[in-house]
């Protein structure tokens, strides 16, 4: 049993490109703006502008489009289900009739529209994670959230939790594999039996995994305190984030594209 191979969420692909060099804050903000615009846009023209914009971004980032498509794969079922639900539930001009269900013209239009919206949402977010390293991403989030410090948002703590979580994903994977093997050596069988039996079979994996994770968390906390970790107050960064001219141009271009997509109705 190998789990490590199947995880692609939040995968980062390193390339030496303009997009990779952009400030993470700018990338996060533009992604959020694109996501908002996708919910506001009401026209196919608007969608095609955004699609073109995302396509150019991916092209500039030199990341192979197959990685973007890989991110869509697990969500394809959700897209299909929304498509089908819209087909049958939207009232309007009936064009096809099956049993007690009616497919309407408006339903097809709406369904396709929403499917394209979902598709573009996924592309926009995977563009962000594919071109931004997890560390840069958490750094960016920390800096963006620190704007909200006056309403007591613990920006540094949130970012630290994210960094630690990301750091321990591979460790926990490795550990899971080790525990599975150890229990198999004691005759455990994870590959047969009915559903309930199979779920029960996972207890001998999950319990040790949790216990070890708690132990590790404890040790990590002590190790951090031993090195005088005291939270975000007065803490400096090794990599200073700086907004360059390229960042500004990128941000303004994005704003411009979104405005065109939203305002121009053909």
């Amino acid at each position: 049993m190998k789990f490590s191979r199947n995880i692609t969420i939040g995968q980062y692909i390193y390339q030496n490109s303009l997009i990779h060099k952009l400030d993470p804050r700018v990338k996060i903000l533009t992604t959020i703006l694109v996501i908002i615009s996708l919910f506001l846009i009401k026209s196919w023209f608007g969608f095609s502008i955004i699609a073109l914009y995302l396509f150019i971004n991916i092209f500039l980032s030199k990341v192979h489009p197959k990685f973007v498509l890989k991110g869509i794969k697990p969500l394809i079922i959700i897209i299909i289900i929304t498509l089908i639900i819209h087909f049958f539930t939207t009232p309007g001009e009936v064009i096809y009739h099956i049993w007690i269900l009616n497919i309407t013209k408006e339903g097809i239009q709406r369904g396709l529209f929403i499917a394209v919206r979902l598709f573009l949402l996924i592309v926009a977010t995977s563009w962000l994670t594919l071109t931004t390293s997890p560390i840069a991403l958490t750094d960016g989030i920390e800096r963006l959230l620190s704007v909200l410090k006056f309403i007591k948002v613990p920006a540094h703590e949130i970012a630290m939790m994210m960094t630690i979580a990301l750091r321990f994903i591979p460790t926990l994977m490795e550990e899971t594999e080790k525990i599975i093997k150890a229990q198999m050596a004691r005759g455990a069988d994870f590959e047969s039996g009915n559903l309930i039996k199979r779920i029960q079979n996972f207890l001998p994996i999950i319990i040790p995994l949790f216990i070890n994770a708690f132990h590790r968390a404890d040790e990590l906390a002590i190790a951090m305190e031993a090195r005088c970790y005291r939270g975000g107050e007065g803490r400096t960064h090794y990599r200073k984030l700086m907004i360059s001219i390229a960042d500004q141009i990128f941000f303004i271009t994005t704003l411009f594209v979104i405005l065109i997509a939203y305002l121009v109705v053909l």
């Binding site: 050596a185 005759g187 216990i211």
Partner: protein, 285 residues
């Protein structure tokens, strides 16, 4: 039992950009009643080898035969293999998950579909084998034990399925001296009194020298030497040092005495033997 590894190769992440060859053309024959030590540097493939023997990994190339039958030919045979071969990983207490020691040890036999009355006897036996009192410990939580006790319960949970071969990966890692000695006495007992075949991986040369009867030295995924510990510690000292392995302290002492011209035998494995040799040397004067 007769374990035969025939030209076995194992590669991690096969056909991936980061594939690594962990084992290369391994040939080993293991007879019933042997006590084998395996030494080698971290990352030389020891743990991979142990997992292959227990049928937890499938070799990329080559065959693993037990009683002349390829264990990967028929997947339903694997459970049978794991019943006959008990494998205790490094830090085996990290797999505890039950609320009582009884249930923890009963996990193995239960998986093999053994009836409850019989399981009780097996748990009793297993605890006796590791020198722990059944009535005193059976209802305690495995998490309430000391490090040494935890290790012994973990090993008991392997012994409960009554394996013919017992594989131990660094069984004494991070134990205090007293718990370590207790555990070593227990392993010796398993070999001498219960006639189990034992495969022991350790970085501690003293333990290897004292306990094992056959020593396999691994280097970079290959078997470098396979002989009695006495012969290896006597004749292949340079070879051992060249791959960064040391001699057991007493062996090293006698080797150095001989090197400066004292009339002693090298290839000494225990303190007892060393004492005799030194007394002989002193008397000669």
């Amino acid at each position: 039992m007769f374990i035969h590894l025939k030209n076995v190769f194992y590669t991690y992440n096969l056909h991936m950009p980061f594939q690594t060859e962990a084992l290369k053309s391994i040939n080993i024959m293991i007879e019933k009643g042997e006590f084998i030590g395996i030494i080698g540097h971290t990352g030389c493939g020891k743990t991979t080898l142990l997992q292959l023997i227990d049928g937890l990994l499938e070799p990329t190339e080559g065959q693993i035969l037990i009683d002349g039958i390829d264990i990967h030919k028929d997947r339903s045979k694997l459970k049978e293999v794991r019943k006959r071969i008990g494998l205790a990983f490094q830090y085996p207490e990290n797999q505890f998950f039950e609320e009582t020691i009884y249930k923890e040890i009963a996990f193995g036999p239960k998986n093999l579909g053994i009836s409850d009355d019989k399981i009780k006897d097996m748990v009793k036996n297993a605890l006796a084998m590791v020198g722990m009192d059944y009535y005193l410990y059976k209802d305690r939580s495995p998490f309430s034990l000391s490090g040494g006790e935890m290790r012994r319960v973990a090993i008991a949970s392997i012994l409960a399925i009554d394996p013919e071969v017992i594989i131990l990966d660094e069984p004494t890692a991070s134990l205090d001296a007293q718990s370590r000695d207790k555990l070593l006495a227990l392993i010796k007992n398993l070999y001498q009194r219960y006639n189990r075949t034992i495969i022991l991986v350790s970085h501690n040369m003293e333990i290897i020298a004292e306990l094992t009867r056959r020593l396999i030295v691994m280097e970079n995924g290959r078997i470098m030497m396979d002989d009695t510990p006495r012969k290896i510690f006597q004749e292949s000292i340079e070879k051992l040092e060249s791959i960064g392995l040391s001699l057991p302290p007493v062996t090293n002492l006698m080797y150095k005495l001989k090197k400066i011209g004292k009339p002693v035998n090298s290839g000494i494995l225990t303190v007892e033997e060393a004492k005799e040799e030194i007394l002989k040397m002193v008397k000669k004067k």
